[in-house]
Subunit: 316 residues, 2 copies
């Protein structure tokens, strides 16, 4: 596989993960359609195993390994959904998973990794400490590093959600997914343009973590933006290969405030009766804030996950 | 139609409402299956239009009217989901709906009825005042009374959820639905036994509103139990015709505490990423409290609705 996966790689990923990942439903909500002035198809990755799309990429990366490599396990660094997803994916193959998490990671996330059988390695909360810790595990165990968004098998796996969405909606006029490190939007854009080359593809990004937006505007990648947003899944800076994918596919980034995201999240909970995390709601917030490119169109929205702390909701 | 509908009546209802009601999905949750020691099929009526199964019965009743009767509209009394459902059902036929609600009904519920185009009539919070107000509307307008649970078209409509569930699950070994006035459990038992005559059918009821349980135990219907439960959809006493249905179909009532219901509700939110109201969660609470009749079986659970106040969750 080249640095960026192709449609064929994404199709191969779909076959590889079929026995393990859910084909999640696509939901409609006519009340929200009326507000948006568009026909919205919500791809419900909050119903995916481990509660987020991350399981697709992790599962593809785990099952793409040779038996010899797989036996030595996998390692990653993640304070969020990718770590839990990789632990669960490793369990589907019966191999070890090591997850490096920074000090101060909330207990529920660490518990989720352990509940799926992953080994947790705590490091200081810096990029250097994180990379050193992952390298240490790799050197000691021979485990394969599965990066949360630059790994091509991860990107290919994330793209499988768009393959399904395209099929379930019977074609689309526009697609939007959240952007953080860029694994999801890369896989989504590649899948979408493989199927419909002229499809407009959008990314939703929080105002307080708008490094992808700003990188595209400047024409060079920002790597040191410190995120300030309630969207805990969208705080990473975009990866180099992911930034290439954004440019190659002409992805337009739409930024939204946390207040707009919380309002959209509440709308989804109230009207659709599903639980999505703030990161997921950015896509609806963007469609509502920038209605023009979506007006009257069939729009696919990827709801990225549903892992929220039910004791601390953003509106209470 | 006789006082109790038949399987044919339920099949006719399914055809009548097909253009208006959602065929709601059936979800699975392997983590909850492991806790229950059974294979659970959750019929998601929280995704039904107006947020609850009530739309099925209301829609069937509205569309079963002659054109002349329909033109004079419909009237009901309900402080909950049935009022909103009837208003929406009436709107699908373009006819007036009148809903009598007691003083003190929470504003969000009254707003929902009005949002669907229903006319709200406020009465004193007694059964006599409620019936008098509904009769007054009926006399003044010629509207047809659509009782929330004793109306046979309502019961037939509620039974359509079980027809779908049976088909979606590919057969069941047991079925459980909540019981309040008894419209849902009546329609469910009739549908289930029409398809599988020996299927064990259960009803879940809050400890604090256990009039159906107590009525079966005594062999005569209790009509004056004052409900004390957080399950706002399960506070009605069972109807006479509905009590007949419970006995005719050998329905076994399983009672659960509010604490068990809240724990089950939280489990559904956390693991399944869907929003259900407390009334819905009684069915899972019952399966977890009384595992014996469900062990190793394929169990259909009807999640009745998803209308909750997101600002006041029972665990916060």
């Amino acid at each position: 596989m080249r640095e960026l996966p192709t449609l064929d790689d994404i199709r191969a990923a779909a076959e590889r993960i079929a026995a393990h990942a859910h084909r999640t439903p696509v939901l409609r909500a006519r009340g929200i359609d009326a507000l948006a002035g568009a026909t919205l198809y919500f791809k419900c990755e909050n119903f995916q195993r481990a509660g987020a799309f991350k399981f697709r990429g992790a599962c593809n990366a785990v099952w793409a390994l040779s038996d010899a490599d797989a036996a030595r396990g996998v390692v990653t660094h993640s304070s969020g959904n990718h770590g839990a997803a990789l632990a669960l994916a490793a369990r589907t193959r019966g191999i070890p998973a090591h997850v490096v998490v920074p000090e101060g990671t909330v207990a529920t996330k660490v518990d989720a990794i352990r509940a799926y059988g992953g080994s947790v390695h705590v490091c200081a909360p810096t990029l250097a400490a994180r990379d050193a810790a992952a390298e240490q595990v790799r050197a000691a165990t021979g485990a394969t590093l599965v990066h949360p968004f630059t790994n091509p098998w991860v990107m290919a796996g994330q793209g499988t959600a768009t393959l399904e969405l395209h099929d379930q909606a019977g074609g689309l006029d526009a697609l939007i997914a959240p952007v953080s490190g860029g694994g999801l939007i890369s896989g989504s854009a590649i899948a979408a343009h493989g199927l419909q080359p002229a499809l407009p593809v959008f990314a939703a990004e929080p105002d307080g973590a708008a490094d992808a937006f700003e990188s595209l505007r400047r024409g060079e990648r920002i790597t040191d933006l410190e995120a300030r947003t309630i969207c805990d899944g969208l705080r990473a800076n975009i990866g180099a290969v992911n930034f290439d994918a954004l440019r190659a596919h002409g992805v337009r980034v739409l930024t939204v405030s946390d207040a707009e995201t919380v309002a959209a999240m509440r709308l989804i909970w109230q009207r659709m009766k599903i639980i999505v995390e703030p990161s997921s709601a950015t896509v609806l917030a963007a469609v509502l804030r920038y209605p023009e490119p979506f007006a009257g169109r069939r729009v696919g929205l990827i709801l990225s996950g549903g892992n929220v702390d039910l004791d601390r909701l953003p509106w209470t």
